[in-house]
């Protein structure tokens, strides 16, 4: 599969501060890639390098097969960007800003523009300074989604939208995918990434800590098991691969490493299982695991 976007071993420092420290990221062509990380992890810095706004200190970056710094102009005809903190020209209306951005990019579909304005319930006649944060974001989204491009780069695009508008946004991303567009979606809204993304890259402190398809990532992580048993389950805590065991009144909950699952299930069987519930980890848990304190020591 060709990649719409490929980054390897990206480094960027601002003076003494290391913003990116060997980051890897890949967006397969025609797919929606989630880009997850806590505040200050380096998501926006990475995106600004992808757009040729910042120059990388080291590492290979290729966007749609081109170099983002050298081929910026040509590349930007083929991609659209929604910044995390949208700042509009205060004296231009939303409609003017949308038109300006699309004309600077080389034109957009007028019908799609009208349709998107309607779906996002955006009044294009208001001046930039009078829009709320969510409405400023809608202006940037309408401009980006109305453009006929191959790649959408979205930096936390829904952080100001209400749940209703989030749904509209999710529909639009699904349509973009059907139209064959590739999408890089940075976010810390996990449910959104879970719903929309084919692959996920998780970064922390400027470094990629995990990446893969959602299915692959689940493979790497623990399963949460909840069971009601006849005998005392305390012994399970001593097994290899069992974490955070809690038990009360015969009910027991614990996490199991995927590779230790067969052995643990066997031991559980000896305790007289009455009910059993196992769940794949939610992205929340993935996230917590990557950024939870227990891993800090292991990483460094």
């Amino acid at each position: 599969m060709t990649a719409a976007l490929e980054i390897s071993q990206l480094h960027k420092s601002f003076g003494q501060v290391k913003a990116l420290d060997g980051l890897d990221l890949s967006v397969p062509s025609g797919q929606v890639a989630g880009f997850l990380g806590p505040n200050g992890a380096g998501k926006s810095t990475t995106i600004r390098i992808l757009l040729g706004l910042l120059r990388a200190d080291a590492g290979d970056v290729s966007v749609l097969g081109r170099h983002p710094w050298i081929n910026a102009v040509e590349l930007h005809r083929r991609l659209a960007y929604v910044p995390g903190d949208v700042s509009l020209w205060p004296n231009l209306t939303g409609g003017e800003a949308i038109d300006l951005l699309n004309r600077l990019r080389g034109g957009a579909d007028r019908t799609r523009r009208a349709e998107l304005l309607e779906r996002f319930e955006l009044d294009p006649t208001k001046k930039g300074r009078t829009y709320s944060k969510g409405n400023r974001q809608k202006v940037a989204l309408v401009a980006a989604l109305a453009a006929d491009v191959e790649l959408l780069v979205l930096d936390e695009p829904t952080s100001g939208l209400d749940p209703l508008m989030e749904t509209v946004f999710q529909d639009c991303i699904a349509e973009a995918k059907r139209a064959g567009r590739s999408v890089l979606l940075s976010s810390h809204i996990l449910a959104e990434v879970e719903k929309l993304c084919d692959t996920v890259t998780i970064i922390r402190n400027g470094r990629t800590v995990q990446s893969g398809t959602l299915a692959e990532l689940r493979h790497l992580t623990r399963t949460t098991i909840t069971a009601t048993v006849d005998r005392d389950p305390a012994g399970l805590a001593n097994l290899v691969g069992v974490h955070e065991l809690r038990s009360a009144d015969g009910a027991v909950t614990f996490d199991v490493d995927a590779d230790q699952l067969p052995a643990v299930i066997q031991s559980l069987g000896h305790l007289g299982v009455r009910t059993l519930h196992s769940a794949p980890p939610s992205l929340e848990q993935l996230f917590l695991r990557q950024y939870g304190d227990e891993l800090v020591g292991a990483e460094s």
């Binding site: 706004l53 930007h76 003017e96």
Partner: protein, 535 residues
């Protein structure tokens, strides 16, 4: 909310503002103080005898000089103190006014515009606390200016009472404009518009004083309408009277009361003029970075054009007074002839230089918009489309060059039209216009220098003002202080003695144009290589 409660936390805000301005304000205050110190130490060596000062006084008795300096008290006995009051004080009072205007706007309207005021007002802070705190900081800053300028004058063995009258007068003039800015900060949503409005009042005050002082020795009623005139009207070192300074306090009281009155009649963050709805689609002209630059700068450009024209026409109409003055005072004619210059041409040349310096200031503000576009994230949005960095950069510079040329044209036309309303022939219009336009290369050097700073060292962009300040200071006072040639020659504006046109120096203009191009290209290279700053 009681009156007392509305001032809650003012003290904290004053300390906070002083902390934020701990570098900015001392620079303003010390620079104004140093300007005075320099005059006090340099003038006695340049004009060491009364006879030499009297020659200077005769030169100052011309309309062009009066227009740019003061009402001319003490010209018949031109002592050092009278000289400083007549020629320097205006150019120390204007910076004090500018400092006060920017200070007030920075701590009131700019805070509301960025939304920081909302955060502050949600805490235990009274309704009038922010404005009051800004005014108190303005009082502190102008007290510093008053003290430093007065002390600087005392180093020159000048009378203490008169020295303090000058210092206090400059400080009070600054405060009067702090009051004006308090009002303009209530009117618009934008800090830029608020400070521009207040600066327009400074311009109007300058014009009123100029016309008034030229019309009649000692000034007429128009002079008295101008807050910039009152320090000189206190007649320090001639026949000191303190009461004109009370007028400054009167203006401060009235404007502050008006500001408070208006501020409780609007919402936090809003202006008094409600925002209007606009077009749903962009006009065809808004399709390129150049179109955007023009659109963004349209209100400012219109303001500058109107202001320059309104200033130029009445100034040009004073050319008849020059002819009359020379007719009444043959000695003055001799001085000019000795310099090889026709007095009327000299008058036009002074006007052209002065207006070109103002256009230079416009050019700096226009190029600096690149910096504010970058800091607000607009540049990021534009460069994320298929606009190249050189296209973005050179579009703004191109707009600046075109607009500067337009403003010089309007200025020159204004002076010419003003002159033509008198005895000057219609040919004067063309001559003065071309003479003023000849300053375009100099203006472009200033713009290019600003652009180079922006491209290579963006954090230092505002230092571009140093070039303008240098050109103004040495352009206006180079002759007064009889400075060595190379000091004045460093100013790009020193190489365009364009009037009469026959003397138009072609080679220096070409050199300046080349220099401007090199500076712009250097900035462009820097801008292409560096990171775009984000918000």
């Amino acid at each position: 909310m009681s009156d007392r409660e509305s001032l809650t936390a003012t003290g904290t805000l004053v300390r906070f503002a002083l902390r934020r301005d701990r570098v900015k304000l001392p620079i303003w205050i010390v620079a104004i103080g140093l300007g005075m110190l320099y005059a006090v130490s340099a003038l006695p060596t340049v004009y060491s005898t009364p006879a030499e000062r009297q020659v200077r006084a005769e030169l100052m008795d011309s309309p062009a000089a009066t227009m740019m300096s003061g009402p001319g008290y003490g010209l018949d006995n031109y002592t050092l103190g009278a000289m400083i009051t007549n020629e320097m004080v205006l150019y120390l009072a204007i910076p004090a006014a500018m400092m006060s205007i920017f200070l007030i706007t920075r701590h009131t309207r700019a805070e509301e515009e960025t939304g920081r005021a909302e955060l502050i007002r949600s805490t235990v802070v009274g309704r009038h606390a922010a404005t009051t705190a800004a005014l108190l900081v303005a009082v502190i800053a102008n007290a510093g200016v008053a003290l430093l300028t007065a002390l600087a004058m005392l180093t020159g063995d000048l009378s203490a009472a008169d020295s303090f009258a000058v210092g206090v007068g400059i400080g009070l003039t600054g405060l009067a404009f702090a009051g004006v800015a308090t009002v303009t900060a209530q009117l618009t949503e934008h800090s830029r518009a608020a400070s521009s409005l207040a600066m327009a009042v400074v311009g109007a005050a300058f014009l009123l004083r100029a016309i008034g002082d030229v019309s009649q020795p000692g000034g007429n009623v128009l002079s008295w309408l101008s807050p910039l005139a009152w320090v000189q009207q206190a007649r320090p070192f001639v026949d000191l009277r303190w009461w004109p300074l009370l007028l400054c306090i009167g203006v401060l009281a009235v404007t502050v009361a008006l500001g408070y009155f208006l501020s409780v009649r609007r919402d936090v963050g809003a202006g008094l003029v409600p925002p209007k709805l606009g077009r749903a689609d962009a006009a065809p002209s808004l399709s390129s970075p150049l179109g955007l630059a023009a659109r963004q700068q349209r209100p400012a450009l219109a303001g500058w054009a109107a202001g320059l024209f309104v200033f130029a026409v009445p100034s040009g109409s004073l050319s008849d007074s020059v002819t009359e003055a020379v007719a009444n005072n043959p000695r003055m004619g001799e001085i000019f002839t000795a310099n090889g210059q026709d007095p009327v041409d000299a008058f036009y040349a002074t006007m052209a230089l002065f207006l070109a310096l103002l256009v230079g200031a416009f050019a700096v503000t226009s190029v600096l918009r690149l910096r504010s576009e970058e800091r607000t994230g607009h540049t990021e949005a534009a460069l994320a489309t298929s606009v190249s960095r050189p296209r973005w950069y050179f579009s703004w510079l191109g707009f600046t060059a075109l607009a500067s040329a337009g403003l010089l044209l309007i200025s020159g036309l204004g002076v010419g039209i003003g002159a033509a309303t008198g005895n000057a022939g219609p040919g004067t219009i063309a001559e003065v216009t071309i003479g003023t336009l000849a300053y375009l290369p100099a203006v472009l050097v200033v713009a290019g220098f600003t652009a180079a700073l922006f491209g290579v060292r963006p954090a230092l962009s505002t230092l571009a003002w140093i070039v303008v300040a240098y050109a103004v200071f040495f352009g206006m006072f180079g002759a007064l202080l009889e400075l060595p040639g190379w000091v004045t020659d460093l100013s790009p504006f020193a190489h365009t003695t364009a009037l009469p046109l026959a003397d138009l120096p072609v080679a220096p203009l070409v050199v300046l144009a080349v220099l401007a191009t090199i500076l712009a290209l250097a900035g462009g290279t820097g801008f292409r290589r560096r990171d775009i700053e984000s918000t």
